[in-house]
């Protein structure tokens, strides 16, 4: 009987090597960063300690209707494997070797698969051999079982070689290979199960990472539902910011030559960008969605008040006529007859007409002032007149045509928000920071709150809410700020603003950069490297 190198090791001289290998495999499997790496490792190592020429791994994929075995990895020392074989699945039935092992949880240790005589439920499928011009002889198929005994995959080792370094041809295979020993079966099965446990753990980790990712996205979408003017904004800003960060990181010359972001830092940047407007959930939607200077209900109240004023003027005129007629008896006469009483009444009518005309002009002025564009100086001065126009209300008191608060709203010089409303909107940044700070971020995501916090700060200190300057604004935040402005300018969904073409948006970014509000070097990279292409924009 030939003693294999493996058995030699177990039985004596090479014991140290074997034990070392097993320990190393244990650490390497536990430390594997991806499924691909882990499968490659278990295949390489189990082939190494058994001197196998080839090996394959199938994983069980549970689909809605049935489970299948998916071909996940293959290695072969003697022939080159085709690439596309990786995508194959085979039905999970006991008629194949791997299917049998997966369904029964039993190992198969076969000296020569070509000698199978059809008495077993499983059969060897020679089609791969024929396609590759290969001769499979000895085979060891072991299930990969998790701690509950569930089979999550199958490891198949092929052609136990007498000497580890020989290459096989269909003609030499039978003479250069030998069956797997029970010892090898035992150890490989154990390693396969260790791999199974780690695959499951890694899979759980990935699932929870995806779960978190999915919940972040769903929350962002949920929050944007309230504010249709910014739907999709967070995702776009995240895409732009990450792209800008990648480019900055890749730049080997200029001011950014020493800046480098790891994958984990890019992930941190991405979450900060996705969540930068999270605090908007705490801003009343009436203010978030406000489109003119007045809220629609406010304008309706003022419209009613103008009607009331008109009726009041009409009533006062009629009353003046009554008072006049009570003191100045009026004789019925033909329309042609001159009558100074009638002349006086017409005078009252004329006064009313003039007043109503002024009222109508005021209304038009008010509608004009209600638009969010910047007001000229002249209508602005006339707006003040409206507060000087008093009428007598139904309570008998005098009231101004528009109140001081309404005037304040109409006098807003830029945009459509009063100072108070702007402060409320601006508070969303602080809310974002507060919400994000309460979340127990993993160490490599710990700066998510801080990066998001500064996205409305400006390098020259003119931003909000803290008014901090360049030295205190992280580079990641400076990128986020540029992405945020760019998207606000080019987004197609702001009702009160036209979306700008790329060139116009870049021009505005440059203006801001010249005032040292945003980082000019980043704007330069943004333009030169066409970061906006991640949104499908063309220059």
């Amino acid at each position: 009987m030939i003693v294999s190198p493996f058995e030699q090791a177990v039985l004596g001289s090479d014991a140290e090597t074997l034990v070392d290998q097993l320990l190393e495999i244990g650490i390497a499997l536990s430390a594997s960063q991806s499924l691909e790496e882990l499968l490659h490792l278990i295949l390489t190592k189990s082939r190494q300690i058994t001197a196998s020429d080839a090996g394959t791994i199938f994983l069980v994929q549970r689909q809605t209707d049935a489970a299948v075995l998916e071909f996940k990895a293959a290695q072969n020392d003697s022939v080159a494997l085709p690439e596309q074989v990786q995508e194959t699945t085979i039905p999970l039935t006991p008629t194949s070797l791997v299917g049998y092992a997966a369904l029964t949880g039993k190992s198969l240790n076969i000296a020569d698969v070509y000698a199978l005589e059809g008495r077993e439920v499983y059969q060897f499928n020679r089609s791969f051999d024929e396609a590759l011009r290969y001769r499979t002889c000895s085979v060891l198929v072991v299930p990969m079982q998790n701690v509950s005994g569930e089979v999550i995959g199958v490891l198949q080792l092929i052609n136990r070689k007498r000497s580890p370094h020989t290459l096989l041809t269909p003609e030499t295979t039978v003479s250069l290979t030998q069956p797997y020993s029970p010892w090898e079966e035992h150890i490989v099965r154990s390693l396969a199960s260790q791999a199974a446990v780690i695959i499951e753990r890694n899979h759980l980790l990935e699932s929870i990472e995806q779960l978190f990712e999915g919940f972040v996205t769903a929350s962002v979408q949920a929050i944007e539902v309230r504010d249709p003017t910014t739907a999709g904004h967070s995702e776009r800003v995240a895409a732009l910011t990450v792209r800008l960060a990648e480019i900055t990181s890749a730049t080997s010359r200029g001011v950014f030559r020493e800046v480098s972001f790891s994958d984990r830092q890019l992930q941190e940047i991405r979450y900060a960008a996705l969540l930068h407007d999270f605090g908007k959930v705490a801003v009343p939607e009436a203010i978030l969605n406000k489109q003119k200077k007045m809220f629609p209900e406010q304008l309706e109240i003022i419209r009613q008040r103008f009607a009331l004023v008109r009726r009041t003027l009409e009533m006062e005129t009629a009353q003046a006529k009554v008072n006049y007629l009570l003191c100045h008896p009026h004789t019925v006469h033909s329309p042609e007859q001159a009558c100074h009483h009638c002349a006086f009444l017409r005078h009252l009518d004329e006064e009313l007409r003039q007043q109503l005309q002024i009222l109508e002009e005021y209304w038009q002025l008010l509608e004009l002032a209600n638009e969010p564009q910047i007001l000229d100086q002249e209508p602005l001065a006339r707006l003040q007149e409206l507060t000087q126009f008093y009428y007598r209300g139904t309570d008998g008191e005098l009231h101004p045509l528009i109140t001081a608060r309404e005037l304040e709203q109409l006098l807003v010089r830029r945009g459509n928000l009063t100072q108070r409303e702007r402060r409320i909107i601006e508070a969303h940044v602080t809310y974002t920071y507060q919400f994000l700070s309460r979340i127990p971020w993993t160490p490599h995501l710990k700066d998510v709150p801080l990066i998001a916090y500064g996205h409305h700060e400006r390098l020259n200190g003119s931003g909000y809410p803290r008014g901090i300057g360049a030295a205190e604004i992280p580079l990641q935040t400076q990128m986020l700020a540029i992405a945020d402005i760019y998207d606000a300018l080019t987004a197609k969904d702001r009702p009160y603003k036209k979306s700008l073409p790329v060139a116009a948006a870049l021009k505005i970014l440059w203006q801001e950069a010249k005032e040292f509000k945003i980082n000019p070097d980043l704007v330069e990279l943004f333009e030169q490297q066409e970061v906006f292409r991640v949104l499908g924009h063309q220059r």
Copy 2:
């Protein structure tokens, strides 16, 4: 030289046992479910294969100012260990054996720690020995290193015994123990590092689970910020639902004797309960926070309209007087003089007075109808009159005093929402389901969307949005529904409703159960087992 059982194994006869043990340890470490289990395992197994009498594990804790070594696990065959020793930390300095190993990454293999002659930077601290009446002799201290070589902890094995099963006394220790072999050092160090890799991986998994948990909580808080009437509602409902599920699960008699929820299912229930109102983010806050039948701005518009109608009536009366006086010349006379013209004018004034009084009554009726309580039949009938009251607007057209839409709002019989508004509020359940369905839940959380979806369904089919019946409502959802109702009744923060005492809330739950809206058996458990105590409520 004495050959240890371990070396015997490696060198020959017992090789199978050793290899088997190493493979088993690999699987067991990978499969460990908690840090405690893993530390216990590595300590037990490494003591076993080295025949060590005792062992301790310290983990490096990085604190804000400095790192320390935290005593995490200890085992000793010969003396009982005190409980509170578990909480100890020691400074991370090279003067202790474990500190030295942690800082240098080197192993220490010492034949007798009492023979250390003070030439080394590290010293053995005898205080534990003295306190426990123990004699530490041979010691093996190995760093637990992750794949980057970073030391995350230290494993210390104490007193390598000549025979695994002897117990040691201070007097026998020196003769019954021996030094650790280089082989043992090598293998233990390797196992310790494998444990380190797995500890880190498990820690990452826990961190991400906490991150997810934290983000769920932050999102729920963020959403509740918009709707102060339900602040804290989600957390309270989650606490109640989980408690009810635990009790149902623990019940061994009655209809629920076969119901049992695993920890994972309880987690699923908890997330469903936390997120059941997530969809409210898509409901406009004006409707969410609506307190009366009219929105405040609507009432203000109607108030202005009433003023306009009043002025219109006054104007029309004055105009009628003018028309009369133009046709009926009126002579100035003393007040005492009877004058049929004046009598007619007074008649017009009297008509106006009556109309204004009606208008005033209508206003009071309207304010009454605006309250959310159930309206009596009589005011309801009079409300209809308001739509029959027309006035001539400034456009010269006739308009009703209140519009059909306003009447519909005022005619709401129960609560303060119109059908349309109620449908929008009710849609939050569908939004919840849609949002949650988009999230890639891990397999054991896959029913979170479904459990949350049915929380307004009722067993008799009278719920919404699907109107499904008992058979289609998961038991978890039936629990959630009861918790939701209970909290809505007892919460202290609904402005338009008083919070009910526990007994009154239970009475309402029983009413609902009698109509077979909610599950009577669950209500019984809820009451008997005082589930509400999780909120600090007393019967």
